[in-house]
Symmetry: C2
Subunit: 336 residues, 2 copies
Amino acid sequence: MADVSVIGAGSWGVALAVLLHSNHHHVTVWSIDPDEIELLDKKREYPAKLPGVFLPDEMQFTTDMKEALTDKALIVLAVPSPYVRSTAAKMKPYINDGQIIVSVAKGIEEETLCTMSQAILQEIPSADVAVMSGPSHAEEVGRGLPTTVVVGADTKKTAEYVRDFFMNTVFRVYITPDKLGMELGGSLKNVIALAAGISDGLGCGDNAKAALITRGIVEITRLGIAVGGRMETFGGLSGIGDLIVTCSSRHSRNRKAGMLIGKGYSMQEAMDEVQMVVEGVYSAKAAKALADKYHVQMPIVEEVNKVLFENKEPSESLKDLMHRDKQMELAVPWDN
Amino acid sequence: MADVSVIGAGSWGVALAVLLHSNHHHVTVWSIDPDEIELLDKKREYPAKLPGVFLPDEMQFTTDMKEALTDKALIVLAVPSPYVRSTAAKMKPYINDGQIIVSVAKGIEEETLCTMSQAILQEIPSADVAVMSGPSHAEEVGRGLPTTVVVGADTKKTAEYVRDFFMNTVFRVYITPDKLGMELGGSLKNVIALAAGISDGLGCGDNAKAALITRGIVEITRLGIAVGGRMETFGGLSGIGDLIVTCSSRHSRNRKAGMLIGKGYSMQEAMDEVQMVVEGVYSAKAAKALADKYHVQMPIVEEVNKVLFENKEPSESLKDLMHRDKQMELAVPWDN
């Protein structure tokens, strides 16, 4: 039993708070929004984001950063990716040397091309920043359905420390040193999920979506290795696993936004309709910039960018992806 | 425009016949069942297996093996895996040296541990046997929805020859020399699809299923490499791609059967309800035998065997899979 805090009261932050509480930790949840904090504190449920999930009386809610961060055994940073850097800057005055912070947002900064843990470290260089990722829709974790994730950290000791806060009979935690590969996989999958949603919105079927996911992880792996991730990571839970759940689940907001775009909505209309942050839209440009920087071919990412930012017709993009030259699937040659 | 034949009038055989016809080939479909042939010939539709898909007047249907096989530029062998060897034996008298046969059934023989192309070659050693596989539910191919597959063959020339019969604007064909890897992936995925269905039937969510798929392809890859397949193949369309579509699609009979088992049906009750051949049930034992033979750990395959053949409770199997020791996800070590 330890004092822990979750910074950010989105669906994922609140679901992790519930998980940490069920593991007998004393949890404080911070949000920048006083109305949100009042709602959670009074109602002990978050109907808009996590309906039906009960928030226990012992869970504390605050807008006070100092209160949220002082003397915590673990801090989970769970604000949406566009707010991670600014939130980390606000946290800095209250963070001790070596404080373990778990980053759970997924994204790549468009300007700096930093992953979230890199951005946090730039703002709070004295922190020990770990990451957690994997196929884990908040709605299911909140309801206690079986889930597996990966924790990445600079040392095995930190990874094990973080793991032991979260692991229980329905939430299985693996550990890895490859933070970078995890974060790249977690961000880039949102771009592929947009593509999968667009394919669904166009009325294509499961065959086309499975092809997009398969070719998508090939693109992600190619870029991820070029940037410095480990190949194995992209075939694991935080790579293909998270990509699969994001592309197929009814809970995925990236897929939902893509579906609307496939049906003819503009990017802005789709984001307005989904009402939550669609991280893939932010990551699409960053993915394209990384692909250019590292000279890696990413045909799906390119088409998503054209649809989002150059008004290309989704059906044209699909056609262009299907009609690329006849070629080998893999770089495996014949002997004869 | 060439004369081609499809041996076997299941949903996949008929869907491929329609595809080949739309590519302007003259197609003959063979089935062992005179009632089936009469139905297809008269009704020009297969309501039970491929409803809504029109079978053109020029398509011929026969129960006569000699008529089906004589002077064909391409023969597609599309009977269910348990009947592939016996059908190949019946075909042999009418097959010329070097005849190209495309095997599209997925399975591993329980007794011999042969893949389908190996079984065909044992029966017809003079044939040039290629394989085709990938995320391709017949229902969608029949309706002309975008689909990608892989053709594997002993020579690039044969692979390209086969590819050019099938490829069109909505059916994209890649080629590879790794027949063995393709066939192992295609068979073993049916066992994982049973597990995914069981998970669905137990009421687990998308998080659990994505974890099963991810850990499933790890098992398949581990075994596949031990048997002689290429690692890249298992990350491709005939590996993870086919696994994804089979585990998530409403069309998948393996998943359906698993779902019923998760809800409490016995294996036989589930197979009776699904009414089509559930190849995963046949492949489960073969997969276990291969794993034992090559000393490869396959925890999901093992649990599926226990549920199917040893009356283990599905919920117990799930619990045992979730509760394995805390461990690293990958064999990637820390430097510090």
